[in-house]
């Protein structure tokens, strides 16, 4: 079965990721697995400039918006594969934006390093607005990696159903990969 870790910051961690049960990783340096890039953007124009600058090669584009304007633009833009939600930008995810995410069927990524309150909030969002939530470990060292069983148990403790937790950890990264491949091919 294909199990994907949706964010590691260091490709040297791939052997460890493989050992703990993942087959594929999305890595920030792109040496192993599928390359992904994450941009923190202040406003819509900033994001436009960044997206013009990057070539249309095989890489996943994750955007961490820091304002409502940039969030709106990131949701609408097809080049952006997923939006990052963390403690820094959680306040801009308001009802209207969440409805927009739902209508655009956008992926939202939540780092597991975030506070428990935010993860709980993301689980609540997923029931009402965002069906495509991904939880990533953002690991720099091998001891920061999360194995899939612990991820599912952690999300279950924080209020998700087991089926939903399985969807967040196993199915949604596969769907993201599938969408990415279908756009590129």
């Amino acid at each position: 079965m294909l199990v994907i870790e949706s964010c590691i910051l260091n490709s040297n961690l791939f052997p460890y990721a493989k050992k703990i049960g993942y087959n594929l990783v999305f890595s920030e340096d792109g040496l192993i697995g599928i390359k992904r890039v994450t941009f923190s953007v202040e406003n819509g124009n900033h994001l436009k400039k960044i997206l013009k600058g990057i070539s249309r090669e095989h890489m996943l584009v994750f955007v961490k918006p820091l304002s409502i304007d940039s969030l709106k633009y990131a949701i609408i833009n097809k080049r952006v594969n997923a939006i990052v939600l963390d403690d820094e930008n959680s306040k801009i995810f308001r009802k209207t934006m969440l409805n927009l995410i739902r209508t655009q069927n956008k992926f939202v990524e939540v780092p597991l390093k975030s506070s428990k309150a935010l993860i709980y909030k993301a689980i609540l969002f997923s029931y009402k607005w965002i069906p495509n939530v991904i939880f990533s470990s953002y690991a720099k060292n091998f001891n920061e990696l999360w194995n899939p069983i612990s991820k599912i148990s952690y999300l279950t403790i924080l209020g998700a159903d087991e089926e939903e937790a399985y969807k967040f950890v196993i199915l949604n990264p596969i769907r993201l990969l599938y969408e990415f491949n279908s756009i590129n091919n």
Binding site: I20, S150, S153
Partner: protein, 143 residues
């Protein structure tokens, strides 16, 4: 004779009335009787292996796990789950944690929070959860 019969009939009537009242009270308050209390106390054994740079022993791993459970869900859940490393093989870096059916998910969720033991970076990975110690021992290669 008829007086004795009348007394027996009255006793039977009173007994049946009491039974009916008790039955109705129980239905009204929807009292559920736990048929098997042992189920919640049933043991679970988590087979795990360790990825680390240096050497660690079972006692330190248990301390780390207990601290991380406490950090994640507090001392109440630590008492409920009561995780103990009952077996640790330093040669293969595999071991068994004993817990119970109520708390095993807490233990599984708290394993990634154990990041360092005695200055060594560590990653504890659960391999399988089982209800029988015999099977858990067989998984790590002990008979």
């Amino acid at each position: 004779m008829s007086l004795i019969q009348l007394i027996i009939d009255l006793i039977l009537l009173a007994w049946l009335t009491i039974l009916t009242i008790l039955y109705l009270i129980r239905r009204q308050f929807n009292i559920k009787i736990v048929k098997n209390k042992k189920l919640s106390k049933a043991k679970r054994y988590i087979v795990f292996y360790v990825i680390t740079e240096g050497r660690v022993n079972g006692i330190d791993i248990e301390k780390g796990i207990r601290n991380s459970v406490k950090e994640l869900l507090g001392s109440i859940w630590l008492d409920i789950a009561n995780p103990k490393v009952i077996l640790y093989r330093e040669d293969t870096q595999e071991g068994i944690i004993s817990t119970n059916r109520v708390g095993y998910k807490t233990v599984l969720a708290s394993l990634p929070f154990v990041k360092e033991i005695n200055g060594n970076k560590i990653l504890i990975v659960p391999r399988r959860t089982t209800g029988s110690l015999k099977r858990a021992k067989r998984i790590i290669g002990l008979k």
